[in-house]
């Protein structure tokens, strides 16, 4: 029982960290490659999550749809929806200093959150969208495993079947049938996101983006369409954030506007990217896992202070991460895994 709980927690931990890693990769395309500031990550994340939820849930009277479509279509829809929002915001702000983009993203995230709360026909408002199906959850059941065990030599098969039928087996199955599949799905999509972003980084397009970041006028003088390249990067990054949203929705099975506050959706992702090393995809991954580990570890504050002080403990945790961000920016702005050729910014 003990280690089944630990296993469940481990699976849960890596799954959430993986979703954050996808978000961080998306932000890396925007900030790391191109120097764009997006303070509305939570908004793009939410658009992806709700799009996928509406596409994949069974028909419901409480919100738009659902359309009962397969999970991959949910992910694709989420990416397209987030990309569309990004096109609109980007079109308005790409010609201007990045401060304006930053302010505009704050605005769009806030408006998305208001809409999620108020447009009940679309999102069921504050009550949220329940019963979002887990991807491929029916694949790993007792019969499947028993079938697999049949491939083993007889004495071993008997032992495995015995274990599977016992209480330990039930616990293992419970983990395997749901969370483990989700974990695999998240890791597969993380690998996909990584592959896209890394390909983009080493491509000629990626080099143009870095050149824009270092010397915008020079790139413009070389005849490149700076605004267009920047917009492409912003849209790609936002689409990846939308993908993370779909993964999240189908992993937790229930979403409501509360899940998309700037604190979790935006702030933590920024800390992850800065801590890992902006511009570097490995850095983005490392940052996501390390900061998620740290954030989870600060949970002990809540436990130590007791339920009575739960809100204070929560605030204290956020404060610690906020201070950590400043310390990193001042002492190690290049992050844990610095981008090649970019030393500390001092």
């Amino acid at each position: 029982m003990e280690w089944a709980g630990l296993l469940t927690y481990g699976v849960f931990f890596v799954t959430v960290a993986g979703i954050y890693a996808v978000l961080t990769l998306g932000l890396n395309v925007q900030f790391g490659f191109t120097g764009q500031i997006n303070i509305g990550i939570a908004g793009f994340f939410a658009v992806g999550a709700y799009t996928s939820a509406i596409l994949t849930t069974a028909a419901s009277d409480h919100h738009l749809g659902g359309f009962g479509l397969p999970f991959p279509i949910g992910v694709a829809g989420a990416m397209v929806a987030s990309a569309l929002v990004a096109v609109v915001i980007g079109w308005v702000t790409m010609r201007l200093r990045t401060d304006y983009l930053a302010i505009a993203t704050i605005g769009i995230a806030e408006i998305i959150r208001l809409a999620l709360k108020n447009e009940e026909w679309l999102t069921n408002g504050v009550r949220g969208v329940p019963a979002i199906p887990r991807p491929f959850s029916e694949t790993l059941e007792f019969d499947t495993l028993a079938g697999l065990a049949g491939l083993l030599p007889d004495p071993l098969e008997a032992t495995v079947l015995e274990v599977l039928s016992g209480p330990l087996g039930a616990a293992v199955l419970e983990v395997l049938s749901g969370p483990l599949v989700s974990l695999v799905v998240v890791l597969v999509f993380l690998a996909l996101a990584w592959w896209m972003v890394e390909r983009a980084r080493v491509s000629p397009w990626g080099r143009v983006l870095r050149a824009i970041r270092e010397n915008e006028d020079g790139v413009r003088a070389a005849g490149k369409d700076v605004v267009r390249c920047r917009l492409q990067a912003f849209v790609l990054g936002s689409a990846i954030m939308g993908m993370a949203g779909a993964l999240y929705a189908n992993f937790v099975g229930f979403i409501s506007p509360e899940a998309f506050l700037p604190l979790y959706g935006t702030f933590l992702v920024w800390v992850m990217l800065i801590a890992g090393g902006a511009g570097n995809n490995t850095g983005a991954l490392v940052g996501a896992f390390v900061i998620w580990l740290l954030w989870s570890a600060t949970q002990f504050l809540t436990d130590a202070l007791g339920a009575e002080y739960a809100t204070q403990a929560g605030a204290l945790r956020v404060l610690l991460i906020g201070v950590l961000l400043q310390v990193i920016l001042i002492l190690r702005p290049q992050g844990l895994v610095p981008e090649n050729g970019r030393k500390g910014r001092h």
């Binding site: 120097g35 303070i39 304006y100 700037p262 920024w270 204070q312 400043q326 001042i330």
Partner: protein
């Protein structure tokens, strides 16, 4: 109908006064330090809570606690600048932007830790409104508008009559020339934070008088404050006055047509419109 319009317009002036005080600070800081200060809303909230401590703890009336809150918020702004932003000044301004976002989150946590996560008010109970014809005027609204007018005049005098105020304008105009003229940049930057922080405290107190105190109050008002600053041409404190009034008025008047929850969307829409049509703001400056 006309009465409704006037009544809502009055709310617009009240909200406009609050936004103006916040937007002036944002604009001053942008003009001199060249970054959008995302912790400004939370600085406003901090100022409002400083006042709450005096109101609740020592039984001060709100107006008497304001001066202490102003000083405390100004000191807090200077401290944040000295401890954090100052060390990042030689780096690209975008890093300051991210840093200030982190400070915003940290300030909000501090507010939650010290004052708790719940809604609070300065004075319990309902204020007896005055009736002017068919208009309903709350005394608090009068104080807010008058307070904003007095502060704007004081700021104008400061910027045009005092050496430090003129140096702030000079640095905003042409930082390099200010430096080669021997203007002590760091001292003027401190003064800028003091003014910006002090005005933010008043804006926060006014906002709390008009609505209530809540840890997220500052973050919620950040978007309209920036919309006001951008409308007036960010970096130009005088533009922020017009920008604040336009945004405040538009947000309140829109409630006659659309769901009031979408008030921030109106500010956002105006801001986006401005960015498309005239990114330099309502008043073309020296650019």
């Amino acid at each position: 109908m006309l009465m409704d319009f006037l009544q809502v317009g009055l709310y617009g002036v009240v909200l406009g006064s609050i936004l103006t005080l916040g937007a002036i600070g944002v604009s001053l800081i942008y003009g001199i330090l060249r970054f959008a200060h995302f912790a400004h809303g939370d600085l406003m909230a901090l100022g409002a809570y400083f006042a709450l401590s005096l109101v609740v703890g020592l039984g001060f009336p709100v107006w008497a606690s304001a001066p202490f809150a102003i000083v405390a918020a100004a000191l807090a702004a200077i401290a944040i600048d000295q401890i954090v932003y100052r060390r990042l000044r030689r780096v690209e301004p975008v890093i300051l932007l991210i840093s200030s976002f982190g400070i915003a989150i940290a300030l909000r946590s501090i507010i939650q830790l010290v004052w708790g996560p719940h809604n609070q008010v300065y004075v319990k109970g309902i204020q007896m409104p005055w009736r002017v014809g068919d208009l309903i005027v709350k005394p608090d609204h009068v104080w807010i508008v008058l307070g904003a007018v007095v502060l704007v005049i004081a700021l104008h005098l400061f910027l045009t009559r005092t050496k430090t105020g003129k140096a702030m304008r000079a640095m905003s105009d042409n930082m390099d020339l200010a430096l080669v003229s021997g203007i002590p940049a760091e001292r003027v930057i401190m003064a800028t934070w003091a003014v910006g922080g002090g005005l933010a405290a008043v804006a926060g107190i006014f906002l709390a008088m008009d609505t209530r105190l809540h840890p997220v109050m500052g973050w919620s008002v950040l978007l309209p404050v920036f919309a006001a600053a951008i409308l007036g041409g960010i970096g130009r404190p005088y533009g922020a006055i017009a920008g604040g009034m336009v945004i405040g008025m538009a947000m309140e008047l829109s409630t006659m047509i659309i769901d009031p929850t979408y008030k921030p969307a109106v500010a956002f829409g105006l801001m986006v419109l401005m960015l498309i049509v005239r990114p330099q703001g309502l008043f073309k400056g020296n650019a």
